[in-house]
Symmetry: C2
Subunit: 424 residues, 2 copies
């Protein structure tokens, strides 16, 4: 790579024409020192930055990559449909095929609507629930991420009081707080949103407590509100069905996106018959929502989901990673808090309130060609191998050793400035 294409040069040019140089969840501003902002290539489980350095990528595009980047089967299906007809004056018949396949795979679902962003799906879920109940209030778990529209973006700047009117908050897995929010709704409850597991940033992840999920279902059944599982991030990474199928609780609506077409742009809202009339009464749409090529890619991806052992494979690799990292950390006197499903791990250090250890470890791993995230859940993909995991564990071992040689682990200045952690 030439200097002109280097990450540093691109970042300088980006400063001039993109606010802050970059925005959104893929901004490298809050990442450890030396993390690249721009990538030039991706294949299988690897990404290459603008300087040509290769990384084993434990972010998988923040979720879309389930079967490996540039998967030939999925991408060939995309391209064949692109050449035939993509964004037309109406959908292709593939939309019907895809709605049939999705509703066949996801137990609670009788119908499907397709969109582009995960936020489109969660916003539509909210609208369908309000349309169904003719009520306004929704219950959300504090700190849960459901997208970046004015009603849900985690940063308030640029949003209004009206955007958040009619929202009530509970604590994930805390039945009492859920009951209290439902009481507060006072007969005006439209929906309860639930993450498939607690996958908030910066904190230990937790599986859904069965009592909590059951109570959410009960409250909805008692009040006529709709239960919504936001499976955008975790969908098909935990199950070949809605993630809450693992605990036997069926929502009325579920939100999908990210991995359902292995990186091609499509998201979906699935619903049960109960909510069908309400869904057909709202007006939602988008310029590219009915494009056929992403639907062809989704159909190819669903086939892989049904016909391969991707799920068991990523679970095996996730267990190998977790065990390997725990052993490596212990060898160097570090304690790790590895939480979440093994194939969607979040890794924090013990005694690391300012995340200084996590950042030092991430920086040392990036230098060794492994891309991890210090405060967001990560993702394994089916293109990873046992050898890849061994490579990562070996790199982690070397990174822990380096941390023992240089024991200065300050809280990252950018996180402190953003008020996300406290200094020292």
């Amino acid at each position: 790579m030439t200097a002109i294409k280097s990450d540093k040069t691109l970042q300088r040019r980006a400063e001039a024409v993109i606010p802050g140089g970059m925005y959104g969840h893929q901004s490298a501003r809050l990442m450890p020192e030396g993390y690249p902002q721009f990538f030039e290539r991706a294949e299988g489980a690897h990404i290459w930055d603008a300087d040509g350095r290769r990384y084993l990528d434990f972010m998988c595009g923040y979720g879309p990559n389930l079967f490996g980047y540039a998967h030939p089967g999925v991408d060939d299906a995309y391209i064949a449909q692109l050449r035939r007809g993509d964004t037309m004056t109406g959908p292709s018949g593939l939309m019907v095929d895809l709605a049939e396949d999705m509703t066949r795979m996801v137990s609670h679902a009788d119908w499907a609507m397709f969109c582009k962003n995960g936020t489109d799906a969660t916003t539509m879920a909210m609208m369908v629930a309000r349309s169904h109940t003719r009520k306004a209030k929704i219950i959300l778990a504090k700190g849960a991420y459901h997208g970046a529209a004015p009603w849900c973006t985690p940063v308030r700047r640029g949003t209004t009081q009206g955007d958040r009117a009619d929202q009530l908050f509970c604590t994930y897995n805390d039945v009492e707080s859920l009951d209290s929010a439902a009481r507060e709704a006072g007969g005006e409850l439209a929906a309860i949103f639930a993450a498939p597991f607690r996958h908030d940033t910066f904190v230990d992840q937790s599986e859904p407590d069965l009592a909590y999920a059951k109570r959410a279902r009960e409250i909805c059944d008692e009040t006529g509100a709709l239960l919504i599982v936001d499976d955008v991030r975790a969908g098909f990474r935990l199950a070949r069905d809605c993630s809450w199928s693992r605990i036997g609780i069926e929502p009325d609506l579920s939100c999908w996106g990210k991995a359902i077409a292995n990186g091609h742009p499509i998201s979906a809202l699935l619903g049960s018959d109960k909510a069908r009339a309400a869904a057909s009464a709202i007006y939602v749409t988008g310029s590219f929502w009915f494009s056929a090529a992403p639907m062809a890619a989704a159909l190819a991806t669903l086939k892989l989901i049904l016909e391969t052992d991707y799920l068991e494979h990523t679970q095996r690799l996730g267990a190998q990673l977790r065990t390997g990292l725990d052993a490596a950390a212990a060898r160097h006197g570090f304690g790790l808090r590895q939480t979440g499903p093994v194939q969607m791990p979040l890794i924090l250090f013990e005694d690391d309130p300012g995340l200084g250890k996590g950042y030092a470890w991430g920086a040392a791993l990036a230098q060794r060609g492994v891309y991890v995230h210090p405060w967001h859940n990560m993702f394994l993909c089916a293109a990873m191998t046992e050898a890849d995991i061994k490579f990562a564990v070996d790199a982690a071992d070397a990174a822990f050793a380096e941390m023992r040689r240089n024991t200065d682990w300050p809280a990252p200045a950018a996180l402190v400035a953003a008020g996300m952690v406290k200094a020292g």
Copy 2:
């Protein structure tokens, strides 16, 4: 095509797995008798329905098709980048190239942010204006379309009072109504939204009045609010710059989408330096916003916009169509109201309050292989030829003749039921 793939069969299957059988702007439910819902192929200026019937398509995907469907140059650029790296853990350097190209082309713009839906761009514009002013109120023109999120969708079902709090309305091109709305904002004005021309459905289109546009600019300059041109639908169809460059008025923010990558999924918000800090302070993002392949397609499309006579070509063809249709209509004793820029025409019949004539004409044209819209502006594309326009005018002539043979033009039942027109 086999019966299994026919439009009728697909519609029946869709009824079972998609609410209402279809939703959004591409639903055929409110279209004339015999209009197909599903399309199987698209090339140049033509689309083929699920039964294999070909149409000269005057909707162009509702805007995305500017240079012809399946444009080899644009699609090759897309595919090459898809094979290299598309939805990765960060953007590729193409994002910087694209932001540079867009800001170079659009006079008022100093920076760019990319997203997926047109609605993403208009919602971001609203957020940036509120972030910049720390105020909440926005002025919209009654009946103008700015997307389908809860704050702007034309159907209220599923939305709340809070979603529309802080909205004030004026009448497009009516200076007094604009002043009155600004007064009503009482020092709390964040933004004025403006369509590039009045392209509301069901009504005659109108070009922006200079006095109106100037007054909008003045109010913003006096109050510190931001002026937003929503160029999602018309962008690059009227000018190689923001559409309001034609009348010499520069907005602070402009919204783009639809045609900027000739059908590939990408939209954008462009802004001036004044709004840069406010833009970098909001949190907006999406799973596929930083995908590289649509950016490669946008770069190829911008090159075509700069280097071909697509604009003059579509204007010539638009004029040919308008003149030809007027003459054909007159020959058969019909009067047409053809409004809007010739390359984005809306066609209504004189004395047709229930749209019965428009629907009869559309149905007769569809049978003859020409796809027109009875109440939404249409789009010409650069792949159309003089021969195509002659074909359309000849088909229109035959359609008018058929209408004279069968003079029963009832108001369409679906429109009456939806409250969009009055019966009889």
